[in-house]
């Protein structure tokens, strides 16, 4: 792998190169780059190539590189994605990378996701168990409870849905897709005892009624979850 990268860096600009534009925070910082492509190549690979071959000072964040940590959220050609889960276009179209919308920018592509976590925190995201729960509950995998919960698990709290929602990133508070999805899981979880508090919150002024049916969350979720459906179900269920 190192060999591939080195030839590409040393040689003349290859025909299958990719033009990348990166939104930078520092005035005067270089924004246009051309990197050699390989297959498979993700946007994260593009960022790493830019960092290693062109500009080591570029700021971006990543950790696990396989879609589990949820820290490499950026905007690619206008829309929020996880960089590690987004393949570069095969037709050589230029790629524009910008920080995720809806969050304050810290530096270059790094954003401060505090607004997301503030909302997440509000739904009491942890289970509030009954006092006497000592043994794991016996819950059949095909029970209605699990059928309601299972499709909504595996959220990685990357904030991509928050950033793709037309409402959550705005100035008025809205719990947002991820927090509401979490609320739905806990509302359905028979081990939890804080159901009513959560239902009161989600049916309140910052809850499900602020959803405007844009479906940005569901179409952007890198884990294939459907927070919009969770919001609908919370509406029906309350």
């Amino acid at each position: 792998m190192g060999r591939l990268r080195r030839t590409a860096a040393a040689g003349r600009p290859p025909d299958d190169g990719l033009t990348v534009t990166i939104q930078r925070g520092d005035p005067g910082a270089r924004t246009g780059f051309r990197v050699a492509t390989f297959t498979p190549m993700t946007v994260l690979d593009v960022l790493l190539a830019v960092q290693r071959e062109h500009d080591p000072s570029i700021g971006f964040r990543f950790s696990c590189r396989v879609g589990m940590c949820g820290t490499c959220g950026v905007r690619v050609n206008g829309r929020s994605v996880l960089a590690c889960q987004t393949p570069v276009p095969e037709n050589g179209e230029p790629v524009a990378i910008a920080p995720m919308a809806g969050f304050p920018v810290v530096r270059d592509l790094i954003v401060d996701t505090t607004p997301f976590w503030d909302e997440w925190r509000r739904v009491t995201p942890y289970v509030v168990p009954a006092e006497d729960a000592a043994e794991p509950a016996r819950i059949a995998p095909d029970s209605p409870e699990r059928r309601a919960i299972d499709p909504s698990l595996d959220c990685v709290q990357c904030g991509v849905c928050f950033s793709s929602c037309g409402i959550a990133g705005g100035s008025r508070t809205f719990l947002g897709p991820a927090a509401l999805n979490r609320a739905l899981v806990l509302v359905n979880d028979s081990r939890d005892t804080a159901t009513q508090e959560r239902l009161d919150l989600v049916s309140g002024p910052d809850g499900v009624d602020r959803c405007h049916y844009i479906y940005g969350c569901s179409s952007a979720c890198p884990k294939g979850l459907d927070p919009a459906a969770s919001i609908r179900r919370l509406r029906r269920g309350r």
Binding site: R75, N77, G78, R79, S80, V81, T86, A98, A101, G102, S163, S164, C165, G166, I167, A168, G169, G170, H212, Y213, I214, Y215, G216, S218, S219, A220, D226, A228, A229, R232, R233, R235, R236
Partner: protein, 168 residues
């Protein structure tokens, strides 16, 4: 031009300016909140069917719904005043309403028709989405329907409205 006609046109100018300003406000704040409107991205998504652009249509519907809502409201506010003139003086009313048959006003009315149709039909679509919980994909298809109906309605209505301008 009479004084009342001048007042009406001044009011109309204010209304138009307000609509333009509101549109700019919606699109600019959208840029901050969710990345903003990407007309090209929408087209690319429609043509290339890239999966993460599934919601682009809905996103545009959301913006346009807001803008048309405001536009209809702003115009109706003015329209209430000019209709109210009848109670004051039918002559003044006639003076103002003579303006409505000028070509410029007719074009404006076509825009108004579009706004009304889209806002109403999209409102019905949102009702369906909410009640039937149809999901993102079907919501997109319903939006296609809203688009077709809106454009058909606007085209037919515009033909009627603009007919006197082009008719001999």
């Amino acid at each position: 031009m009479t004084a009342v006609q001048f007042a009406f046109l001044a009011g109309l100018t204010v209304v138009s300016a307000a609509i333009v300003a509101f549109t700019a406000l919606v699109l600019l704040s959208a840029r901050r909140i969710d990345g903003g409107p990407h007309l090209l991205a929408v087209l690319r998504a429609r043509l290339g069917r890239s999966p993460y652009d599934l919601a682009e249509g809905n996103r545009w519907a959301f913006y346009v719904h807001r803008i048309t809502g405001f536009a209809v409201f702003a115009f109706l506010a003015l329209h209430l005043l000019d209709v109210g003139l009848y109670a004051l003086s039918p002559a003044l009313f006639d003076e103002v309403h003579a303006l409505y048959s000028t070509p410029l006003m007719r074009v404006f009315e076509c825009g108004l028709l579009f706004a009304l149709l889209f806002h109403a039909l999209n409102g019905l679509r949102l009702l369906v989405i909410d009640l039937a919980d149809v999901g993102a994909r079907a919501a997109g298809r319903l939006l296609d329907g809203v688009g077709v109906l809106t454009f058909a309605g606007t085209a037919a209505g515009s033909a009627v409205i603009l007919w006197p301008v082009f008719a001999p």
